[in-house]
């Protein structure tokens, strides 16, 4: 039996003993918070506080879900009984009896009312307690399977009604999971997630990248921790030392809270020192530094880190947080207006809906694609579902008077697709004009360069677009034919592959020839070791998660544009990714050692 189960069985008699576990520190900092054990980040089973006024509504939501489950079970039983499979029928009958049991359902309703929590979480904790009391039941495994089956039946129904998501968390939590996929970690970029802890993963895993981007501590490589803690257990996460403490003593809590506060003060001071410095090379080449964001709540952090604009607003999060409903035109408008106003006079680049691929499930997407990364996603999806696209474009256009907005289409594969998307935008403008709704018709319209075919015709696209932004994550995936989520080919994912360097070079040259800005908003733009190469290739805007801005800025300020161009000249003569990586370690790293000390720690 797990220790957590043992603890639950003893009925919480006395405080469980504190445990300290050693893992790998993946992102520095210290947090003290109750943990939330996540089975899947898109799961709806986590704690959300409900307003008193909404409690009865929540109870009703639960009852409706139970009723739906009951009628499903009755149908199942009848079906099996018609086929004279009495045993199978009686299983569903027993499930139904369980569902009607006052101990179980009454307990959940009581928990919703008393603790003012969401139905999903109330039921999860209630069933957890219940199964603990079934310790010696005959044929226990079968019973637990059935309880799980009942739960998932109800949870599914609850998820289909107005479901809750992590952005509604009202108290700080430390997320604990076995491992986190990129799309899961993306959903964790919400307020109140104050630490990440995973069983698997190394210091350069996706969890580490995201935690650093969020400026929260992370510890990875903790073996089976997620099996050994229960949601609600108080945890100390020390990402600087790679420690996780479960159920710490009051003295430890006080000590770590003090250390956490001190760490944050140090970070703030470090940020203030570089915030207002220009991103300019020693010989005066100015680079614009922008931030990638997905939530308006990130704006204060973006400004604090010294971003000169938003280079990428991932609007799909607006859709995810409304799932299964679609955002309305006003939903769009309000978010974009707030972004425009709060960032003004700085630029804000809205990327239109980039749903699909390996990420960001939403109920409007088909689930049965064999190869979703090459499927109906992003701009293809928008052009197929014009109403969804137009609703978003209207929201963007209506927000243009409030600041400096740009619009950018994702996954454009060539000139034709860009023209189609632009035509929809033009039609939308005409609509607004007819309706007498004000907007700025001169809004810059750009596209992501992330499909190799678009990169190959960058010179043609540059004649029609107002700007480019290179999305390196997908560009690398498509150019090198690497599924980023497939661990067995992950070793081939090499940003410094000569093919990638050449693609960036061609795109930058095409932009320069046409006189349009060329930005980069993929992960490459946030790597100080790669930044000098990007400068040498002629990228004029770099957009990244805000936390990377100080070190990228420091790297730019440590170099001359002249030497960056000389480095690129040499790199273009190299034949393999390994040779270029080796060159970066040998020639670039020593130049940046003083300006970006953390680089040596990471790559030394």
């Amino acid at each position: 039996m797990s220790e957590a189960a043992e603890r639950a069985l003893t009925g919480g008699a006395g405080k469980p003993p504190a445990k300290t576990l050693r893992g790998i520190g993946a992102s520095p900092g210290i947090a003290v918070a109750p943990c939330l054990v996540l089975e899947a980040a898109d799961s709806t089973v986590f704690r959300v506080s409900i307003k008193s006024a909404d409690v009865e509504q929540e109870v009703k939501r639960f009852r409706d879900a139970v009723d739906a489950a009951k009628s499903q079970l009755t149908q199942l039983r009848e079906m099996f009984e018609k086929e004279h499979r009495e045993t199978a029928g009686s299983i569903f009958d027993a499930q139904r009896v369980l569902l009607e049991d006052e101990t179980l359902m009454g307990g959940t309703e009581q928990a919703i009312r008393k603790q003012r929590i969401n139905a999903e979480w109330a039921m999860r904790t209630e069933l957890h307690h219940l199964t603990q009391s079934f310790a010696d039941v005959p044929d226990r495994e079968r019973l637990l399977e059935n309880v799980e089956d009942i739960e998932s039946r109800i949870q599914k129904t609850l998820a289909g009604s107005q479901h809750h998501d992590l952005s509604e968390l009202t108290e700080d939590v430390a997320i604990v999971a076995s491992k986190l996929s990129p799309s899961e970690t993306a959903l964790l970029r919400v307020p109140h997630v104050v630490a990440l802890v995973t069983d698997k993963g190394g210091p350069s895993s996706h969890t580490a990248i995201v935690a650093k981007a969020l400026g929260i501590p992370a510890v990875v490589g903790l073996h089976d921790l997620s099996q050994r803690v229960s949601s609600g257990d108080l945890t100390v996460v020390d990402g600087s030392r790679g420690l996780v403490m479960v159920n710490p003593s009051a003295a430890d809590v006080a000590r770590y809270q003090g250390m956490g506060a001190e760490f944050r003060r140090g970070e703030e001071a470090r940020l203030r020192a570089v915030r207002d410095l220009k991103a300019e090379t020693l010989d005066g080449l100015r680079v614009e530094i922008h931030a990638n964001i997905e939530l308006r709540e990130q704006i204060p952090s973006v400004i604090k880190h010294g971003a000169e604009g938003i280079g990428l607003y991932r609007s799909e999060f607006l859709f995810l947080h409304r799932s299964p409903y679609l955002p309305t035109e006003d939903d769009h408008f309000e978010v974009y207006r707030e972004l425009a106003e709060k960032m003004a006079p700085r630029v804000v680049t809205i990327r239109t809906l980039d749903l699909g691929g390996e990420k960001y499930f939403h109920t409007v997407l088909k689930k049965d694609e064999n190869n979703p990364v090459l499927g109906m996603r992003a701009i293809r999806f928008c052009l197929m579902h014009r109403e969804i696209f137009r609703t978003q474009l209207r929201g963007i256009l209506r927000a243009t008077p409030y600041g400096h907005l740009r619009v950018m289409f994702p996954l454009i594969s060539g000139v034709e697709e860009f023209r189609l998307a632009r035509a929809v935008l033009r039609e939308t403008m005409e609509e607004l004009q007819t309706e007498g709704i004000p907007f700025k018709p001169e809004i810059p319209v750009g596209l992501m360069i992330e499909v190799p075919s678009a990169a190959a015709v960058a010179d043609l696209l540059a004649k029609e677009a107002d700007f480019f932004s290179i999305g390196t994550n997908d560009l690398i995936q498509y150019t090198l034919a690497i599924d980023r989520s497939n661990e067995s080919v992950a070793y081939l994912y090499r940003p410094m592959h000569p093919a990638i360097i050449r693609t960036i070079k061609f795109t930058a040259e095409a932009g320069r020839a046409a006189g349009i800005p060329v930005a980069m908003c993929g992960e490459m733009a946030s790597d100080p070791l790669i930044v000098p190469i990007l400068l040498g290739l002629g990228i004029g805007e770099l957009s990244m998660d805000a936390v990377y801005i100080p070190s990228v800025k420091a790297a730019i300020r440590a170099l001359t544009a002249k030497e960056a161009r000389a480095m690129v000249k040499e790199i273009l003569g190299l034949a393999t990714a390994s040779e270029i990586e080796e060159f970066a370690r040998r020639e670039i790293l020593p130049r940046l050692k003083e300006a970006v000390p953390s680089l040596v720690e990471d790559r030394g």
Binding site: S90, A94, L98, D101, T103, P138, D139, L143
Partner: protein, 89 residues
């Protein structure tokens, strides 16, 4: 009030399906139905209560029924247990 000893004779004991049948049948009577084991008494109309008895094959339980239809309830419930809840073994 009627009270008697019943022995669980089916192989799986008072497992989920058996408990489901017992609770459902007990629920059809107006009388109060309780099952007792080692001094612990549970409401026999609640499957959750029955399951917490953890009664394996061979367990001896006390069946206590009180109410207007206790005789009928007693007959029906003891019959369900004696016929192994309709299970083969």
């Amino acid at each position: 009030m009627t009270e008697s000893q019943i022995t669980i004779i089916n192989q799986l004991g008072l497992h989920m399906r058996a408990a489901g049948k017992f609770a459902k049948l007990a629920g059809k009577f107006r009388s109060q139905v309780h099952l007792l084991r080692d001094g612990v008494s549970v409401d026999a109309k609640s499957i959750v209560g029955l399951l917490t008895l953890a009664a394996a094959q061979g367990s001896v339980l006390t069946l206590r029924i009180e109410g207007a239809d206790e005789k009928e309830a007693h007959a029906a419930l003891t019959d369900l247990v004696a016929t192994r809840f309709g299970e083969e073994r």
